[in-house]
């Protein structure tokens, strides 16, 4: 009996060890952001910058992320319907094509977009280019959870609604969309987490007016080294992301993230 307990303790300990390791970089960044360089005392001084000179950057990041989420919804919902409910030829091929951005390394996407933005579309370093890159890189993450949710949704519900006299739109808005809620929310969550913290593609395609917060962190590390203010910005970003994740998990659990291989 005692041997069994020891093994269980070790096993749980192993899990907690790794969980601690996952959170450790965040905790150290948090710690560093609170300590003043001079005397090691703790204060919120560095967070002045977050509301001061970093404020515009944070607002830009938030705005870009929200816009991306909306566009993703508009693009991915119909596409998911098309793939699940309609008879399309070559679905596997279509899905692979749509998900291509997921398999593309960030630097490859970055450099190829720089070339195309400069040469073909003439939107180099623009906000439009930024949003386009974010959308194409993240709508697979919106598409997949919605597909999973749609597949699990029995058609009985909307058939019943149609029998009872609802029009197509009514069925969609009042029956299916609420039932798809968790899947859609999973997509929103993933889009948010990825786009909000994206810096590598941004590194290639952003300009002076489109510096997002993670890119700012990157630039600050390269120029000013490791300052408490940089740490404060990084901590804020992670905190916001984590809170969003927590809210999602509270509401829906992790069931709908299953197909995306990110969790």
């Amino acid at each position: 009996m005692r041997g069994l307990r020891l093994r269980t303790v070790l096993q749980h300990g192993y899990i907690w060890l790794w969980l601690l390791i996952f959170v450790l970089p965040f905790l150290t960044t948090l710690d560093y952001s609170l300590k003043s360089v001079a005397d090691g005392s703790y204060s919120l001084r560095a967070y002045r910058y977050v509301f001061g000179s970093f404020r515009d950057t944070l607002l830009l990041s938030t705005w870009a992320t929200l816009l991306t989420i909306v566009i993703n919804l508009l693009v991915a919902l119909p596409a998911a319907y098309a793939l699940v409910r309609f008879p399309l030829p070559g679905k596997a091929f279509l899905l692979s094509t749509l998900n291509l951005a997921l398999y593309t390394p960030a630097v490859v996407m970055g450099i190829s977009l720089v070339i195309v933005y400069n040469y073909v579309f003439d939107i180099a370093q623009s906000f439009t280019g930024l949003i386009a890159a974010y959308v194409v890189g993240s709508y697979p993450l919106m598409l997949i959870p919605i597909i999973v949710a749609l597949r699990d949704l029995p058609t009985a519900f909307d058939e019943a609604a149609r029998c009872l006299g609802a029009s197509r739109w009514q069925t969609f808005l009042r029956v299916e969309l609420p039932l798809l809620g968790p899947g859609v929310s999973a997509g929103i969550l993933l889009t948010f987490v990825i786009v909000f913290n994206e810096y590598l593609v941004t590194l290639f395609i952003a300009g002076p007016g489109t510096t997002t917060a993670p890119l700012r962190v990157y630039g600050l590390i390269r120029t000013a080294g490791f300052q408490p203010s940089t740490a404060a910005l990084a901590t804020t970003m992670q905190l916001v992301s984590f809170v969003v994740v927590l809210i999602f998990f509270r509401l829906f659990g992790s069931r709908y993230l299953k197909g995306t291989y990110l969790i």
Binding site: I15, M109, V136
Partner: protein
Amino acid sequence: MAADLATERPIKLARGRRERQRVLMGVGLILPALIISLLFSILPLVYLLLVSLTAESSFFFAPEYTLANYAQLVGRYLPALWTTIYLAGLASLLDLLFGYPFAYILVRQVRYRELVRALMIFPLFGPLYLAFGMYYLLLPNGPVGGMLERIGLQGVTLLYSLPSVLFGMALFTFPFMVMNIGAALSNIDPQLEEAARCLGASPWQIFWRLLFPLSRSGILAGLLMCFGWNLGVHAVPLVLGTINEQRVLSIVLYQRGVIQFDYGLAAAMGVALMLLAFGVTWVSLRFSKGALGA
């Protein structure tokens, strides 16, 4: 007979037309996504290939077509290619080594799975913050550095070193490995293990002769997926690595391409990286049991 023929055709026609209408509607629904993919995902890759065949930034002015970029890639930049591959490979192996037990315990023993999943999301926020945080951790006057100095190791050598880069890379892709192995393990009936134990198998035997063969596809899928992701690593070697680790393709690509404007060479590197990553990920999806029925 004649009556049948008379009624058959109208019904078939109607069905055919409705079918076609539905296909058309499906195409219409999926069109925005396709267009965006085409314009911003596929077209850029085509141009990437084109530019990789031109010298430096001549593509934008008067393209001179050449294979010199690829020659350079396998010549002068072969160490970069090799460093990318073996760093990614080692990190993926680390993931397997530490991730397999984690996945097993998670699937079999742990009830607070939701909490674990929530905390596992942290590395996904970005390798940048991971690298950043690890840097603070390993600073000579930081927490870990202090501990190390008491043992006698120099903190700085751990900071800029291969082990810390590998650790950072492995940490980022850890959730992917756990997910793949967890999915494979959850398909294995626990009664099989109990039966093996009753028949007298040791834990090692249970693993090697029961779990390992049955979870092989998950292991392979996890390894390949982690490998694919780790090929494009950028922040961790940059922040935590020595000059050796910073030879990784994505760092060199950025330097040569954006900073030194040698777009031809950078594009060639991009093509190489893309082929590697794409090939690996494609194979991994064949092995893993995705929700998409792959």
